[in-house]
């Protein structure tokens, strides 16, 4: 065993390999800056579940290495482990956390009864199918591409702005009838929107798409000021490798 950056590790083993060998407890693999990783972190914090965050260095291609691919065969973050169960896909991980830790933290996050759960599933699918694609494309083009010194594609930006605008029009109507998307309580649905919306509002000049719509703006203000999300944003600001 040697000490590497304050941790005891077997010589020649990466942080990832060491973690894989370590004992139980909830583990999330990936950088907090990743929208999908932050979705899982938000959920864990809402449910008051203790976890260990294992950094994965995307710039160094750690997510494409064999050890990581065993956890996530598409080579994407996050990966997740709990009591020997290995999962991926942020929304599947969130559903698992909500079911397993149903009695912790925000008990109503995944619905309190059959009907509220059906509504949550409906809007979670809507988020995944309708909100996520255009908002992800815009987050990449407008927030990440400049930082990574990649060329922006104006055509892609315009196309996805139009798509996102249509989705937000639907949300504007819905949020005039309902405090949160799936119903009158904050749920996994609203949480699922936070990662992409956060970048659009804070890291691009398209925040108006949210704030200029009355009901969407009101909703955004409420969900983004939740303590759990504020903690995620703090984690995103932490120095790399922490």
């Amino acid at each position: 065993m040697v000490e590497i950056r304050g941790e005891l590790r077997e010589k020649g083993k990466s942080k990832l390999q060491t973690s894989l060998m370590a004992a139980t407890g909830v583990k999330v693999y990936g950088p907090p800056l990743s929208t999908a990783v932050s979705r899982v972190l938000g959920c864990l914090l809402e449910k008051d579940v203790q976890f260990q965050l294992i950094p994965i260095n995307l710039a160094k291609g750690e997510h494409k290495k064999p050890d990581f691919l065993k956890l996530q065969p598409f080579g994407q973050v996050p990966a997740f482990e709990d009591e020997g169960l290995s999962l991926f896909e942020s929304r599947a991980i969130c559903r698992y956390i909500c079911e397993k830790y149903a009695n912790g933290g925000n008990k109503g996050l995944y619905g309190t009864d059959f009907l509220s759960k059906a509504s949550i599933e409906q809007w979670l699918e809507a988020e995944g199918q309708n909100f996520n694609p255009p908002s992800s494309a815009l987050v990449f083009q407008l927030a990440f591409a400049p930082r990574m010194k990649l060329k922006q594609d104006e055509g892609v930006i315009k196309q996805n702005e139009e798509k996102l605008a249509k989705v937000l029009d639907v949300y504007e109507k819905r949020l005039g009838e309902s405090r949160y998307l799936a119903g009158d309580e904050f749920s996994l649905v609203d949480l699922s929107h936070l990662p992409n919306a956060h970048y659009l509002v804070s890291a691009t000049n398209r925040g108006e798409m949210f704030t200029a719509r009355t009901n969407v703006g009101r909703w955004w203000g409420e969900i983004s000021s939740r303590d759990s999300w504020k903690k995620v944003v703090e984690m995103q600001k932490s120095p790399p490798g922490a």
Partner: protein
């Protein structure tokens, strides 16, 4: 008068997904036709059922839902004791099914739906196929199917040892793609090919195909 209604049509992959689920559970339902060519889905009263203006919309008594994968999950849970089991009661096994449902939804479907649209639907409605879109999405789909080939070496069905919603959700696109040049991507991967043959042969799926006027 059926309690369960599916608003859509027999050609829509998303509507087929819901109907396959209903047949697996042996539940009677009414298919209420939505005239998409006339833009019925973009107007009231349809928008009250699905504000995104997409098919299908679903009713079960007073309950109204949209998003096919939310509808199938509702059906599978609400009618867990009827027909074929489509979910796992064990939470860890269900979490794994949930993973592969997300994989279908985010990795498989994006490429498969584009290819289905370009190669299977556009010709039916007299629109021209875009070759670059086809090539791009074939490359994407091939990568997903490589992951599936490896997965099916460890697991009999995509979500685990039993047929579940994770497999069912693939049926509509796979059926269409098997009638196109994309069939080759499936045929050249033995485990994927065997899995497809098996799930496409399920009686519940054959009933959905019959509605389309397919063999």
């Amino acid at each position: 008068m059926a309690t369960i209604k599916v608003h859509g049509n027999a050609l829509s992959t998303a509507a087929q997904r819901v109907m396959a689920c209903l047949h697996e559970k042996g539940l009677p339902f009414e298919l209420v036709l939505v005239d998409m060519r006339a833009g019925e889905h973009k107007r009231e009263p349809f928008l009250s059922l699905n504000p995104f203006g997409q098919v299908p919309a679903f009713e079960d008594g007073d309950l109204k839902l949209f998003e096919s994968r939310a509808v199938t999950q509702y059906i599978a849970h609400a009618y867990a004791d009827k027909g074929n089991q489509l979910i796992c009661l064990d939470p860890k096994k269900m979490a794994t099914v949930s993973v592969w449902m997300e994989v279908e939804s985010h990795h498989f479907d994006s490429a498969a739906a584009m290819l289905t649209w370009e190669l299977a639907i556009k010709p039916l409605i007299g629109m021209a196929t875009e070759a670059t879109v086809v090539e791009e999405n074939k490359v994407k789909l091939a990568k997903v199917l490589d992951v599936y080939e490896a997965r099916l070496a460890q697991s009999k069905y995509i979500g685990g040892d039993n047929f579940t919603l994770a497999d069912l959700h693939h049926l509509p696109s796979v059926q269409y793609l098997m009638t196109t040049q994309v069939k080759e991507l499936f045929d050249t991967r033995p485990r994927v090919s065997a899995w497809c043959s098996e799930i496409l042969a399920r009686p519940a799926w054959l009933k959905v195909c019959a509605l389309r006027g397919n063999q």
